[in-house]
Amino acid sequence: MTNKEKWRERLAPWVAVVVLVLIWEAAVRLFDVPSFIFPSASATAQALVTFAGPIGMHSWQTLWTTMAGFALGVVVGLGLGFIIGSSRFLYHACYPLLVGFNAIPKVAFVPILVVWFGIGSVPAILTAFLICFFPIVVNVATGLATLEPELEDVLRVLGARRMDVLLKVGLPRSLPYFFASLKVAITLAFVGTVVSETVASNQGIGYLMMSAGSQMRMSLVFAGLIVISAMAMVMYELFALLEKRMTAWAHRGQR
């Protein structure tokens, strides 16, 4: 690839954002949509500036609860994935349960969590956790469960215990799967937090959007949307970068 092409590729996503914003602005102006229905891009930008203080405060709340739920998801996901991935029996026993659990809309848990923990940060953290641990479990377990049988023979003949095989081969082998799942999990965690905040909190971007919506301040609602997606994108990129650094050997074809 030439230098010019590289630059084009790097600029492309920014250009896409600019184009989208322009279409948005143009459409709202062209059809003269009232701002309490669908605010223009410029009105949303103005709301972002005007309410920078409260938005910042609520974003911080959303960010830290998301990260807390995500951290919990990583710990539990890694542990559970390791346990069920390391045993064929447990894998078969637990997998249908996990799939069934994953099919439950996580928003359905929020009322339960509110009864147990009251409104506030805890339901948000737990909703983020519940929604994001599943892809981690599945990826880690799959990485472990798909070990080449011949490689296992090579090690078993040397007297390797199950734990040796898992630690020397299984775990490093499942790391690319693990890091790939982190990217999915972090965006899901944001979904969980915001969903919980909209119904059971008086802090966070979800709450901010909810209360702004009830006052018909749509430009502020849209500002909230943009902040959430910006945070999610930044975290996604962060974990994509981490993935690249930690498991370069698995991405050798893409250099």
Partner: protein, 258 residues
């Protein structure tokens, strides 16, 4: 007493019948034997029995005068697929068995320098000097297979099991590796069990070639290869060698048409 002693050994994995049946043979220490036969004849099953990865359902397997009752760590294995770990350098891949097998696993930290020396020596003898710090995916298929053989030999096993190790390589690389294996064996004289589809490979490398039947695998022919050693690759283009391979070929043909 033979080093490996199979006495009327059979193995059935499940109710579908024996994978191998009634195998009786003796392999001397330092002998190079090859198993040839049609696909699915239980050659790999033989390897599992020999290394103790699987117990027989009939008969007895003895290695080094002891009944085999579990994985035999005096054996090293290499397969058609090199199966190197992509996150480890070539050197670290070769060192892997020493991190696992007793007694080396407990000495690994303390004697690491020494072990690295072993690995480097071994890699040099197979022609991988200078590639120690490369990752497997930076090596060609033939080089990966060389490293895989080094990994099988690093803990100085007395029994080397090779399951079609050269089957996935191109013809020239394969012949190169025959010579690498020949030289390693001439130098260290471990016992080798080579499972292969390639009759020329079997005849060139082995002292004894066993021909196996279709499933259930039985041994239907034991053929001593009396070509003088050390054998040169040129031998394989001379009349006695070609006749030998043709005779083996005819036998396999008979099994297939039967």
């Amino acid at each position: 007493m033979a080093f490996v002693d199979f006495d009327r050994v059979s193995l059935a994995y499940d109710d579908s019948g024996n994978a191998i049946e009634d195998i009786t043979l003796k392999i001397e220490e330092g002998e190079f034997v090859a198993f040839v036969g049609p696909s699915g004849c239980g050659k790999s099953t033989f390897m599992k029995l020999c290394t103790g990865l699987h117990g027989p359902t009939g008969g007895q397997v003895r290695v080094d005068d002891e009944p085999v009752g579990g994985p035999l760590k005096i054996s090293g294995m290499a397969f058609q697929n090199a199966n190197l770990l992509p996150w480890r350098t070539t050197l670290d891949n070769v060192l892997l068995p020493l991190e696992i097998v007793k007694p080396y696993r407990h000495e690994f930290r303390r004697r690491r320098e020494e072990f690295v020396g072993w690995a480097r020596d071994l890699l040099r003898t197979v022609g991988l000097e200078g590639y120690e710090d490369q990752y497997p995916w930076q090596l060609s298929g033939g080089m990966q297979q060389r490293a895989s053989i080094c990994r099988a030999l690093i803990h100085r096993p007395r029994l080397l099991m090779l399951d079609e190790p050269f089957a996935a390589l191109d013809a020239f690389t394969r012949e190169e590796l025959w010579c690498v294996l020949r030289d390693l064996w001439e130098a260290q004289r471990f016992t080798v069990v080579l499972v292969t589809h390639d009759l020329r490979e079997a005849a060139f490398l082995a002292d004894t070639v066993y021909v196996m039947s279709r499933r259930p695998g039985r041994i239907i022919e034991r053929r001593q290869i009396d070509l003088p050693r050390p054998r040169e690759l040129a031998t394989t283009y001379e009349a006695p060698f070609i006749e030998l391979v043709q005779a083996l070929r005819a036998q396999i043909g008979e099994i297939r048409s039967a």
